[in-house]
Amino acid sequence: MQPQQASPPGYLGQFRILFSKEIAVEFRSRETAVPMAVFAVAALIAFQFSFDLRGGTLNLVAPGVLWVAIIFASLLALGRSFAREVERGSLDGLLASPIDPGALYLAKVAANVLMLLVLEIVIVPLTAVLFNLQLFQPALLLTLVMGNIGIAAVGTILASIAARARAREALLPIMLLPLLVPVIISAVRATGLAIDERPFSEIQPWLGVLGAYDLAFVTLSALIFYVTVER
């Protein structure tokens, strides 16, 4: 009568299942992507009037404006991704199942990378149109993806720490922003060089820094993430 003991999926299988869960939940609730995009657009408008983004200085300031808007918007997504699970107790359901928490971490990182990409699909063309910039460069796409991975890698593990702490809304940016300094520096530089249509060899060192950052933090965080959800 009882079927033989089922065998739970391995690390990659768990990652796939949990990643589609993240996407399905977000697709239903639209609790994160929509507020994020609206926030980023509002931030762009605020920057326009703060920095007077016209004429000669535009190419110098625009990359920074774009990345500050992305990083501030990402704080909304990152904070929600764990707070929601902790509040409802759905995280406990996952942790009581036979998964490796590392797979859960990577699924959340992948979902956050995708969410940031969706945000960028909205605000990058908008930045190009509003400020009349040449933003459609292949090197920029690469910069965006690698920057997103860096933000999501550190942001996801810190969000899981902040989710159980007091004053989590303040704590997450306080911990995250200094750790993101290398991402901010290299993503802004690479974006600036891409806008100026410089050769790829000039952009490469910055993508190298981003790659090293992504690799270091994704690996370290996937290994120690289980500690942050342990109780």
């Binding site: 702490a165 300094v181 290398p182 120690i224």
Partner: protein
């Protein structure tokens, strides 16, 4: 141990030594060391700035060791090591930033120089470990907060070289006007006061670490006693 038990312990000896060596270091730096040709008397802050910076970096390394070992062994002594070293690290990086800034004013003509990779990295490090202390103070005392802090301690440590390299690359590819200081290769007249300064800061660090860890241990015992009393 009771308070009346006042024999000299190793910690006390280290404390006295730190005090004595610090006095010698100050004497050597202020009186004995030569005045640098270009920078004159301003260069003398080097004897405080560089030792405090180096010991600050060591203390951040000790936070990482304590954090990693705590996550592995889960024994409270490693957590004590991390928390004590993080607090001293913040104090030492603060000292480094202030002395660096004071030194920069006459030499660079500005309090701050964004193109100095070491200074910017130190500032980022300072922010990370201030966040670390905030995480600890906002959390309830206990293993959950210790684990969270240990994770941040490790992430912050890995961040240091990447930050340094990216700021370095930034100034290298995008140079700003700087005046190179000529103290990179200290001669023997400079070397001796510098090494004594290093010894002074190292002893001070060891002494304060020992005191802070003892305080943390007492706090831990007190928490246990309070919890035990509540159970009755």
């Amino acid at each position: 141990m009771s308070l009346s038990d006042r024999r000299f312990s190793t910690i006390d000896i280290v404390g006295v030594a730190a005090f004595a060596v610090m006095l010698i270091a100050l004497y050597l730096a202020i009186v004995e060391s030569p005045s640098e040709r270009v920078q004159g008397i301003h260069q003398k802050i080097f004897y405080v700035h560089v030792p405090s910076a180096l010991v600050a970096y060591v203390s951040i390394g000790v936070v990482a060791v304590g954090s990693g070992m705590y996550l592995w062994k889960r024994t409270h002594k490693w957590d004590r090591l991390a928390i004590a070293s993080a607090e001293l690290g913040v104090i030492l990086t603060t000292l480094t930033l202030v002395t660096g800034s004071l030194w920069g004013r006459p030499v660079w003509g500005a309090w701050w120089n964004w193109s100095d990779a070491r200074l910017v990295t130190t500032l980022v490090m300072w922010l990370v470990y201030v966040a670390y202390l905030m995480l600890r103070s906002l959390g309830e005392r206990g293993p959950a907060t210790s684990r969270a802090a240990a994770v941040l301690g490790l992430l912050g440590f890995v961040n240091v070289p990447i930050t340094y390299f990216s700021v370095y690359l930034w100034t290298f590819l995008h140079p700003l006007p700087t005046l190179q200081s000529s103290t990179d290769r200290p001669e023997s007249a400079i070397l001796v006061p510098f090494l004594v300064g290093m010894a002074a800061f190292t002893l001070l660090y060891v002494y304060l670490m020992a005191m802070r860890m003892r305080l943390e241990e007492s706090q831990h015992e007190l928490d246990d006693l309070r919890a035990a009393r509540e159970m009755l």
